[in-house]
């Protein structure tokens, strides 16, 4: 694997340590409700980070902590949101899967954000040419009709819509072959929509591969589907992994650590410390107050 700048690795490991900490807090009974960690998929939003601009909109989903942290580097606000503490991004109302901050928004209904992203892309195409709307969806979400209605609309109206598919081979407990006939590529082709699959787990390689494609969404508007063949390391939410324990999904970090042990150890220790400090500090905060809306 290519060596990474400390800054990139720090963000990758911030996300990893954050997610691990969430699962630990759940086990200790410190967290309420549910959460979906992106363990194993951290490199997707981190790769895209320098390729997206502040003027771009991001639509995230239930597995969105990495998307948020890659955009804002704000573990305090996110953890406060998840723990319902003061300083929460959305006053504790939205929680893990309903976040909004500026041009970043997530919702908990699969596929729902696609038409909304198309609407935002329509606005951008008129008033801010060059900016795009990016929607993250999973492979299982291709079962939702909203995805196709939105793809059709975006293709017809040539909207700058970047669909980032995190194809981790599973939807909750259902493996992709049991829930998807055909392929994402075939479905995109049916709409005449550009599609590109990425197998690389290496941030530098991913960036090199997708940068020119994302640029085309800005200069020659129309939807683009980027399908990341990725790997969910952890449970769907918490303690609900029904995959056979023998089969370990591929972990980009195992490969990176093997190639760059010293940097990994140093940066991981720093990330872990940071998350521990954030967790202690946020846990000590008073409850979030909903100012009402």
């Amino acid at each position: 694997m290519n060596g990474l700048a400390d800054e990139d690795l720090a963000l990758l490991l911030l996300i990893r340590c954050f997610e691990r900490k969430l699962l630990a807090l759940f086990e200790q009974g410190e967290l309420n409700g549910t959460t979906h960690t992106c363990l194993g998929q951290e490199y997707v939003p981190v790769s895209l980070r320098p390729l997206l601009r502040d003027s771009d909109w991001i639509f995230s989903n239930h597995r969105g902590h990495g998307h948020y942290l890659a955009r804002f580097d704000d573990p305090e606000g996110l953890l406060a949101e998840i723990m319902g503490r003061k300083g929460a991004v959305c006053d504790g109302v939205g929680g893990s899967q309903h976040l909004r901050r500026g041009r970043y928004l997530s919702t908990g209904v699969q596929g729902q954000s696609m038409p909304v992203a198309a609407g935002v892309a329509l606005h951008l195409s008129r008033h801010e040419p060059g900016a795009l709307a990016c929607a993250y969806i999973g492979d299982g979400t291709w079962g939702e009709g909203a995805v196709y209605e939105a793809l059709n609309l975006a293709a017809l109206w040539r909207l700058p819509l970047l669909v980032v598919v995190e194809h981790n081979g599973i939807a909750q407990s259902t493996p992709t072959p049991a829930q998807m006939a055909g392929t994402v590529a075939g479905r995109a082709a049916a709409f005449g929509v550009r599609h590109h699959a990425i197998d690389a787990l290496d941030v530098t390689a991913v960036r090199r591969e997708v940068a020119p494609l994302i640029e085309t969404v800005r200069t020659d508007p129309g939807p683009l589907v980027l399908e990341f063949r990725t790997h969910r390391l952890g449970p769907h939410s918490k303690g609900d992994d029904v995959r056979p324990p023998g089969v370990r999904p591929v972990d980009w970090y195992a490969a990176y650590r093997a190639a760059h042990p010293a940097q990994s150890a140093r940066v991981e220790a720093a990330a872990r410390d940071r998350v521990e400090r954030v967790a202690a500090e946020v846990a000590a905060r008073p409850p979030a107050v909903w100012g009402g809306a």
Partner: protein, 334 residues
């Protein structure tokens, strides 16, 4: 001027005055101008902001919400209100919730127009009035077109609310004239109290009964009132609100004396009974005016049935002026 023309002019005016307004819907472009011609002429005047969509009610509502999220304003036409069911998730779970679920208020200026109601022989899936399925959703207001309220004002008000609104439009009402200032006919006058059109007997005293109906039933209600006056010597009043939900007539100071002096309140609506707007209004009246009301509020809904296509079968199921008349007579004397 007919109601359809008033609505069409309202949309022309809105698009002309506010460059951030978009109109989206199926088959709304000229020369077709929409299934009910409400959008006629819009696409020729405002080609970039009047957009014909594929048959994708969910995506239309979602894209409109996206426009609103990005700072624009959007008016959606659902060809037949029945199909709002296909946009339910976007309206209820996204647009309405987004106003408050992110902690701070997110303005969502969005109007979803729903041509509704029967009496036209379109059958079970093209004749419904779906209000009750959208009642009581935080962040979602329900309005209905009436022959009293100028639709430009109604559209401006909905968009100014900054939350998604459904606008129900009775398809028969489209073809009827707007009531001119003050007079309904030679017997009845009307005036506005708040956003509620109040129809009364010219020079009349206390009403024997008071009807409360959405705009689509206004003509059937007035017809029932004429018969009740001329054949039964009963003087009635009629309340027609522009906003159906939230709506609390007993909370409008200008309406309380009227409601307190009336012999019977009867709420009539299209759609089947069970979890309805009328039941909600009645519950509010019973609670607020307990001890003042002379009788329990009478309710009129359509029959518990799908809406048949054949004209004689459809007539049996839907609320007619005669249904309202019978309910009043029964409520007062029955």
């Amino acid at each position: 001027m007919r109601v359809a023309e008033n609505l069409n002019r309202a949309l022309h005016g809105l698009l002309g005055d506010d460059p951030s307004v978009y109109v989206l819907g199926e088959d709304i472009l000229d020369p077709y101008g929409g299934a009910f011609k409400i959008t006629k002429g819009l696409s020729e005047r405002f080609p970039g902001r009047v957009l014909a969509t594929p048959l994708s009610e969910g995506a239309i509502a979602g894209a409109a919400a996206g426009l609103a999220l990005a700072g624009e304003k959007a008016v959606v036409e659902i060809m037949f209100g029945d199909f709002a069911a296909l946009a339910f998730d976007q309206i209820v779970n996204f647009a309405a919730k987004s106003v408050t679920m992110y902690g701070r208020r997110v303005p969502m200026p969005l109007v979803v127009r729903c041509p509704s109601g029967g009496h036209r022989g379109y059958g079970p899936t093209h004749s419904q009035t779906l209000q009750k399925h959208f009642l009581g959703v935080p962040g979602l207001s329900l309005f209905e077109v009436t022959p009293f309220h100028d639709n430009r004002g109604v559209l401006d008000r909905m968009l100014a609310l900054g939350e998604p609104c459904l606008l129900f439009e009775d398809k028969v009402l489209y073809t009827r004239p707007m009531y001119g200032e003050g007079a309904v006919d030679e017997l009845f006058t009307w005036r506005l109290v708040d956003d509620v059109a109040v129809v009364e007997l010219a020079g009349g005293g206390d009403p024997d009964y008071t009807l409360i109906v959405p705009g689509g039933l206004a003509h059937r209600a007035v017809s029932a009132m004429r018969t009740l006056l001329l054949e039964h010597d009963l003087a009635g009043a009629l309340l027609v609100p522009s906003r159906l939900h939230p709506f609390d007539p007993a909370g409008v100071p200008g309406l309380v004396p009227l409601l307190a002096r009336t012999g019977l309140v009867c709420v009539a609506e299209d759609g089947t009974a069970g979890g309805t707007w009328g039941e909600h209004v009645a519950a509010g009246l019973h609670t607020r005016l307990w001890g003042t009301l002379r009788r329990p509020v009478a309710l009129v809904s359509s029959a518990a049935s799908v809406i048949p296509t054949a004209v004689h079968l459809e007539r049996e199921v839907l609320v007619q002026d005669t249904t309202i008349r019978s309910a009043v007579l029964e409520g007062l004397h029955g």
